[in-house]
């Protein structure tokens, strides 16, 4: 049932018949989806369709909770590592694939310490290198001008939008190859949302991005490819403009025209 059009550019990651089980319940049914390198792919679909579940497979977040099981393959290029193979250490994966969550979740520490944390746990960086890396990450996240004078202020003093950009900076500091966004603007006001979307558009030239969103207009604005999921299956994946103007599948069409969901 899934119609996945392989994109022209090379893939960064690809799932092949990926299934996921919460205990006995099957949440993902044999998803085969390619994620093109240094482009943004959006995952859309109604509540409960499995888009966040799929996202969290990419960085093995499901491993934090007992009773979950993967089947199939989730390949990372260029080495063709199967991310969901049991012998692959999730910590290694999370050092290469970062995540930004739905509700901004900065650590209750200073701004500097938030961004530096990912680098600290890898160890071995001198203070000057750390400073440079923190500044670069904050610049990449379009937050540097606002915080350059108060790097040691408590992170929770920032506004919601600023906190989310801080979380993006934190994820960027470790130079991930893929950056996962789980509905990053659903808790933010329109102005903050617009800034984050602008940021994603800039970042996708440098990092492969996968963004889950329940807001179709957002998907249309920021992504190059869009995958529509329904009840744990991949229904259709294609270039974003095609999905929203002339989808191949009637279910997709029903969803993007707002007839359900």
């Amino acid at each position: 049932m899934s119609v996945a059009v392989q994109p022209n550019s090379g893939l960064k990651a690809e799932s092949r018949n990926l299934s996921f089980f919460y205990g006995d319940a099957q949440a993902l049914k044999s998803i085969s989806l390619g994620l093109p390198d240094r482009h943004a792919t959006a995952l859309i679909g109604p509540s409960g369709c499995g888009k966040t579940t799929y996202l969290r497979c990419l960085n093995r977040m499901h491993d934090l909770y007992p009773g979950n099981r993967y089947e199939g393959e989730l390949l990372l290029y260029p080495e063709r590592i199967n991310l969901v193979a049991t012998h692959i250490d999730p910590i290694e994966i999370r050092m290469r694939i970062g995540m930004v969550f739905q509700k901004p979740n900065p650590f209750p520490k200073s701004i500097y310490e938030n961004v530096a944390y990912g680098l600290r746990i890898r160890g071995g960086l001198k203070r000057t290198d750390l400073d440079q890396a923190v500044e670069r990450a904050l610049r990449d996240a379009a937050l540097w001008p606002e915080v350059r004078d108060r790097l040691h202020d408590h992170a929770l003093n920032l506004s919601g939008g600023q906190q989310q950009r801080l979380c993006i900076a934190r994820a960027l500091a470790t130079r991930p190859e893929i950056l996962l966004f789980d509905e990053p603007t659903s808790a933010l006001d329109p102005t903050a949302t617009a800034r984050i979307e602008e940021l994603v558009n800039d970042l996708k030239q440098k990092v492969t991005i996968v963004i889950v969103t329940h807001n179709m207009q957002q998907a249309a604005r920021v992504s190059d490819y869009t995958a529509f999921m329904y009840e744990g299956r991949l229904v259709e994946c294609d270039r974003t403009d095609k999905i929203f103007t002339n989808p191949s599948n009637t279910l997709t069409e029903a969803y993007v025209t707002g007839r359900f969901g």
Partner: protein, 314 residues
């Protein structure tokens, strides 16, 4: 975006940072996990230690004293030349002081709980609760002092024949001591009763007292029962108040106006003296301790089961 980041650089593999090698990281994590597991198992070791020690020494004790005698003899005089090893006098002491304590703690604790949860204003509650916490923070030896040198003389004004050591004062003070405990567990149980139930009663025109007694109290009954049962367990295990104020003469009596020894006071009495390690007299404290442990265990178990029931009810 300024000039530095304008060109789309390919982000290199994160290995550019010196990530510690996988094996050392995994070993370190495993080592930490094992170390922490050992500390968690320490608590199991404590239980094994307690049960083991009490069982072992009691086993040696019962090789010399028959269980029947232990349970039915009406005298407890292990240090006499003609020793008797009946646990009943000690049990009677424990039961009477506990009963007196409950006569005080259950009504008082319940009334305080109902008052605080259904009647009192927030300001009053904020003032009373710390005071109750204070009541439970006072060391038991201070309560013992209070029982002997304040409560007993006060009671002696009512009953001039009251002996200086008696179970009434001790029981009364123990009761006061566990009121905060009974009331806080009961209050928790009552607060867990949904507002909707209360509002239903008020909407029918019930007064606060009727709502409290006929709706809230019965709904919270298993939690309140848990409070009572756990209070019993606390009273049974209390040592210093009885050691100071009830005397240390094991007597089989059910009259609270007399002195007596509880199981706990007996253990204290022997510990204060000098009994050779391994003698039968030494072993009596372990047999007594085992009886004590069994009694409190039964009540603790009951209280735990009741508490779980009320927590799941909503």
């Amino acid at each position: 975006m300024d000039a530095e980041t304008a060109k789309p650089e390919v982000l290199k593999h994160a290995q550019e940072f010196r990530v510690p090698p996988v094996l050392t990281r995994k070993l370190k994590e495993k080592a930490v996990e094992w170390l922490l597991m050992m500390t968690a198992l320490a608590s199991v070791a404590v239980t094994i230690g307690i049960v083991g020690v009490l069982s072992y020494e009691s086993f040696l004790f019962f090789q010399q004293v028959s269980l029947i005698d232990f349970l039915t003899d009406r005298e407890w005089t292990p240090l006499f030349s003609e020793p008797h090893y009946g646990i009943l006098p000690l049990v009677s002491g424990t039961v009477v002081t506990t009963a007196v304590a409950l006569v005080v703690a259950i009504p008082a604790g319940s009334v305080v709980a109902i008052y605080l949860s259904e009647y009192a204003s927030r300001a009053l509650r904020e003032a009373v609760k710390p005071a109750l916490e204070l009541l439970s923070a006072v060391p038991t030896v201070v309560y013992g002092y209070f029982a002997l040198l304040f409560v007993t003389p006060a009671l002696q004004r009512i009953w001039p024949d009251l002996p200086g050591f008696n179970m009434l004062s001790a029981g009364f003070v123990i009761g006061i001591m566990i009121v905060p405990y009974v009331s806080s567990v009961s209050e928790d149980a009552m607060r867990a009763v949904p507002l909707a139930l209360r509002e239903g009663a008020y909407a029918l025109g019930a007064t606060r007292m009727q709502t409290a007694l006929r709706v809230v109290f019965p709904s919270a009954l298993s939690g309140i029962a848990a409070a009572y049962v756990l209070g019993v367990s606390r009273a049974i295990g209390e040592t210093m108040v009885v050691a100071i104020a009830a005397g240390m003469q094991p007597t089989l009596t059910w009259n609270p106006l007399e002195p007596a020894a509880t199981m706990t006071a007996y253990i204290v009495q022997v510990s204060l003296g000098d009994l050779p390690h391994g003698s039968i007299g030494y072993r009596t404290i372990f047999a007594t301790g085992l009886t004590l442990l069994l009694m409190t265990f039964i009540f603790n178990l009951a209280g735990h089961v009741l508490r779980k029931r009320y927590r799941q009810a909503y």
